[in-house]
Symmetry: C2
Subunit: 160 residues, 2 copies
């Protein structure tokens, strides 16, 4: 999050502070306060406003920078919610909560696919094991018998 | 996002505005401005502050409420980034961008699993098709021959 983007997003806050400062300057002018005192008041208000902005920017930027760094380094980006610490402000917390919910739902789905895969492989392996026995028996029968038929069957068996 | 949570999160803004109002009240008092005028100025500043807060809350709450409603109704929560519109403020946009990146990475992984599953099934089906031919041949050979051996082989074939 660049500071300029952050400022653009803070237009409501900036507008309200500009409104307050203009209103004060006008009011103090109407009240016949000296220009120096007027400027001093406005600068003080401006100072507080800028301080508040910088403080908020630092807090949020720290979290978002870490989040994007993690996102950049992670190969499987959906582990992001496990490696990023929960931030101290509400919108960051909402982000983490939404991320946690979506990645949980995804992990469940991936686990389902993995389970289906394993089950199918187990089934196929059991089946292969079971057809091995009669095939070996046929092989033994052919070994115990001679003749045209036995050699024909043996030839077919060699193709399996 | 409840309004109280939102206010708690805005402590920097609230602190700065309280500072500005207190500073103004003190300054106007020192300048021997009448209490009525002093109160009027403070109330105006307060009014602008509350207005700015309510405006920002409405903008953000609308987005977060929709986001959580979508999250609640979606069965597969990782489609959230497709069904939620991009919000007009930077932190919401960051949230959507992070969500989009994580769900993209997740969808790639799910597609990989699905592909692996399909490839394995295809392989098994091809293999089954190939061993069917010699088994049928053995069956035919047994059908064309009589004797003890043919009936033994036939018995084993029936187990496959």
């Amino acid at each position: 999050m660049r500071f300029s983007t952050f400022l653009k997003d803070k237009w409501i806050f900036l507008l309200s502070q500009t409104g307050i400062i203009l209103f004060l300057a006008l009011l103090l002018n109407v009240m016949k306060i000296s220009n120096a005192a007027n400027a001093l008041v406005c600068i003080c208000v401006l100072f507080i406003t800028v301080g508040a902005l910088v403080l908020e920017y630092n807090q949020k930027n720290g979290f978002y920078r870490e989040l994007y760094r993690n996102l950049g380094t992670l190969e499987k980006k959906y582990y992001i919610s496990s490696v990023t610490e929960k931030p101290g402000f509400v919108e960051g917390a909402i982000l983490m909560d939404v991320l946690r919910q979506t990645t949980k739902s995804m992990n469940d789905d991936i686990a389902d696919y993995r389970r289906m895969n394993t089950e199918y492989q187990d089934y196929v392996e059991t089946w292969i094991h079971e057809i091995k026995i009669p095939i070996s028996c046929i092989d033994l029968i052919c070994g115990n018998n001679k003749g045209e038929m036995a050699s024909g069957v043996k030839e077919e068996l060699s193709r399996i």
